[in-house]
Structures are given as structure tokens and as C-alpha cells.
């Protein structure tokens, strides 16, 4: 004890400074620092709440903008499946056959003489995600058969667009020319001729009149009718 007192008396300054530092460190580490950390954590939380609230508002605004954009786009386009496409095509003709493979839709339809093939092109041009492989048109007996080979992708959309593709100007030129009709003269009154066409139709015709959509009457000479078709070729047929 006497030695300790003697050591303390000899190193009083060192002891006081060391004691100060030790007590300060202990109080700082075990009392002040936890409270300080708690305060700083709350400050950080408050700052993050402000940031997250601002971010929430920004995200909300962005969501509104995106929702509006989707609504606008959806108003101008909607997804299309095979059945919906067939429904659209059925407005243009009678659906004959629909074949579906993994990578192709094949639709066959019959169209009347008045149908416009250009309308098919116009409909297909409004669709995205559907590549048109082949459009095959076959005319037969006043009707047209159309065969569409289409290659769908994962998403097929039908769009509403302002403009449309121009129509085909040769809609009334579909189908083969009919054969030269048989005519029988019944009577002639001046420039007018009473004739029976193909043993069924009775007609009163004059020079330049059309007998049907393909053939026009040019004249009657030597008991023969002279006819001209829409393609500019003539046919001379005797009155039977």
C-alpha cells in the first residue's frame, strides 16, 4: 500500500490524465454513443421517409402517365386472334376453310363479284405481328376464291388507322371472259334486232349494245352476227 501511495504521489499527473481519459471513454462508449446512434438513426429514417415519399409521388405520377398512354394505345389497337380475324374476313366473303398450324394460319374464303380484293389488303395492313406469306386469288364462274397464308407472331394486334390502302381499280375485271354467245335472229325492225341468246334470253338489240358483261353487238351481215368482246377481239357467229 505504501509503495502504491508512493507511486501515485510520484506520477500524479499521469494518473489524473489517464483516469480522465478512461472515465470519459467508458461513459462515451456505454452511455452517450448509444443515445447518439439512436438519434442519428432517427434522423436518417426521417430523411429516407422524405425521399421515399417523394419517390412514391414520382412513381404515382409515372403510373398515371403510363396508364393514360396504355388507354390511348388500346383505344387505337387491340389484340387479335384467329377467330377475330375470321370474323373480320367473314364481312368480306364466305369463309370456306380455316387451317391452323404451329406457324401458319391459312384461311380460304369465297368472295362475290362485287367484293374488293383491295379491302383484304387494307384489313391485313392494319394488323401487326401477322406476316402475309401468300395471297392467292382464283376466279371461277363469277366467284373468287381467296386463300390467305399468314404467319402469326406471338402478339397480333389490329390497329385503327386513319388512312386506308387504295382500292384496286380492276374489281370489275375479275374472272374469265365468257364464251361467244349463240344468237338466233327472230325479227329485224330497221336497226333493231330481236334475238334469242343461248336459247333462253330474248333481247332487242341495236348496233353497239352490250349483250352481256363481256360481249357487244357490232352488226349483222350475211346471216352472221358480228360481236366484239371487252378485250377487243371479234367473234362472228352464224344465226342458228
Amino acid at each position: 500500500m505504501a509503495n502504491f501511495q508512493q507511486w501515485v504521489a510520484r506520477h500524479t499527473n499521469v494518473v489524473l490524465i489517464a483516469w480522465f481519459l478512461i472515465v470519459a471513454a467508458v461513459l462515451g462508449v456505454f452511455v452517450v454513443k448509444p443515445l447518439f446512434d439512436r438519434y442519428v438513426a432517427r434522423l436518417i429514417d426521417q430523411r429516407q421517409v422524405i425521399e421515399q415519399t417523394a419517390r412514391h409521388q414520382r412513381l404515382d405520377q409515372r403510373r398515371l402517365a403510363l396508364s393514360q398512354a396504355i388507354e390511348e394505345i388500346d383505344a387505337a389497337s387491340h389484340s387479335l386472334d384467329l377467330m377475330a380475324l375470321v370474323a373480320h374476313l367473314s364481312d368480306m366473303g364466305e369463309i370456306l376453310d380455316v387451317q391452323v398450324t404451329s406457324d401458319q394460319w391459312v384461311v380460304s374464303l369465297a368472295m362475290s363479284g362485287q367484293s374488293d380484293v383491295g379491302a383484304i389488303y387494307d384489313l391485313l395492313s392494319r394488323i401487326s405481328g401477322l406476316a402475309v406469306d401468300t395471297i392467292a386469288l382464283q376466279t371461277m364462274d363469277g366467284e373468287q376464291q381467296l386463300r390467305l397464308s399468314l404467319e402469326p407472331s406471338e402478339a397480333v394486334w389490329l390497329h385503327t388507322v386513319d388512312g386506308s390502302l387504295s382500292e384496286l381499280a380492276w374489281g370489275d375485271r375479275l374472272g374469265e371472259l365468257s364464251v361467244c354467245p349463240n344468237l338466233r335472229l327472230r325479227a329485224q325492225l330497221g336497226e333493231r334486232f330481236q334475238v334469242v341468246m343461248n336459247d333462253s334470253d330474248r333481247l332487242s338489240i341495236a348496233t353497239g349494245d352490250w349483250l352481256n358483261a363481256d360481249w357487244r353487238f357490232l352488226g349483222y351481215r350475211d346471216e352472221q352476227f358480228i360481236l366484239k368482246n371487252g378485250l377487243g377481239r371479234t367473234c362472228v357467229t352464224p344465226s342458228f
Binding site: L43, H56, Y121, S125, V132, L137, Q138, W157
Partner: protein, 163 residues
């Protein structure tokens, strides 16, 4: 003769007691400082409400909303891409249709069949005279692939291509 050893012992003891008192005084001072700081920090902490739960809730909501927005953005991108694709598709089909529209430059014809593919359009038609095909001033000429003469019309097969 003075007993110096005795006085030295007294001085050492007094110095020790003095040092002990100063240690106690320093301890009390530091404790009071620490107490003041603690009271101040507690008071400051009380002024700030505990927003841990609110923050966690906000972070969760923002994460969910961010995922939703990514999906919505993807959806918008797909739709916009579809619109762009439709415009390209429309232009492509317009080109294919223009091949057929070149036919209207021919005076008189009857269409028997049309086979329109991506690369070319083959039209089988009836015309009065083959010379009508060659006399037309078409910008993009076509190939005549097949000719069948007939009594009242000629059947020709024309191949239109963009090249």
C-alpha cells in the same frame, strides 16, 4: 535532528488523498457532462417520431409500384413496337398492292388468278392482244412467263416484282 522519513510519509499520504479527490472530482464532472449530453440526445430523439415502420411500408410500396411500372412500361413498349411494326407492315403491303395496281395501266384485261407472295406477284390474265402488254409505258416492267393463245383472248402470266 529532524525526522525526514516521517515527514516524507505524511507528504506522500496527503498527495495520494489529493489525487484521489481529484479523480473523484473528474469522475463527477464527466458523469454530469455525460448525463447532460444524454438528456439532450433523448430530448432530440423524442422530437423525431419513430418512422421505422412507416419507412419500411413506403419502401415496400415503392418496390411493388416500381415492379408494376416496369411491367407497364414493357407493355407500352410492346404496344408502341406493334404500332411501328404495323406501319412497316402497311408500307410493305402497300408496295405489294401497287404491283397489282400496275395492271390498271393495261387497256383491257380479265384477271383469272393472282398469287401474291413477298417477293413477287404472279397474275394470270386474259388480254385481247399480246401487243397491248408491250405497248404500255410501265415504269416497272413485268416478265411474261406463259402465253396461251385462244380464240377470243390470249392468256398470259405476268410476274411483277419490286426489283
Amino acid at each position: 535532528m529532524l525526522n525526514l522519513i516521517h515527514w516524507r510519509g505524511v507528504m506522500i499520504r496527503k498527495r495520494f488523498i489529493w489525487c484521489a479527490r481529484w479523480c473523484l472530482f473528474l469522475t463527477l464532472s464527466l458523469v454530469s457532462v455525460a448525463l447532460s449530453a444524454s438528456i439532450m440526445l433523448l430530448s432530440l430523439s423524442k422530437d423525431l417520431p419513430d418512422q421505422t415502420e412507416q419507412l419500411a411500408d413506403l419502401v415496400r410500396q415503392n418496390t411493388t409500384m416500381s415492379q408494376q411500372l416496369n411491367e407497364m412500361q414493357l407493355s407500352v413498349d410492346q404496344r408502341l413496337q406493334a404500332q411501328t411494326s404495323q406501319l412497316e407492315h402497311q408500307e410493305h403491303l402497300s408496295l405489294r398492292l401497287s404491283r397489282l395496281q400496275r395492271l390498271s395501266l393495261i387497256d383491257a384485261f380479265r384477271v383469272i388468278s393472282v398469287t401474291d407472295t413477298k417477293k413477287s406477284t404472279v397474275v394470270r390474265l386474259q388480254i385481247g392482244d399480246l401487243a397491248k402488254l408491250t405497248s404500255q409505258p410501265l415504269e416497272n416492267p413485268f416478265d411474261v412467263r406463259l402465253v396461251q393463245p385462244g380464240e377470243h383472248a390470249v392468256i398470259a402470266e405476268l410476274v411483277f416484282s419490286d426489283g
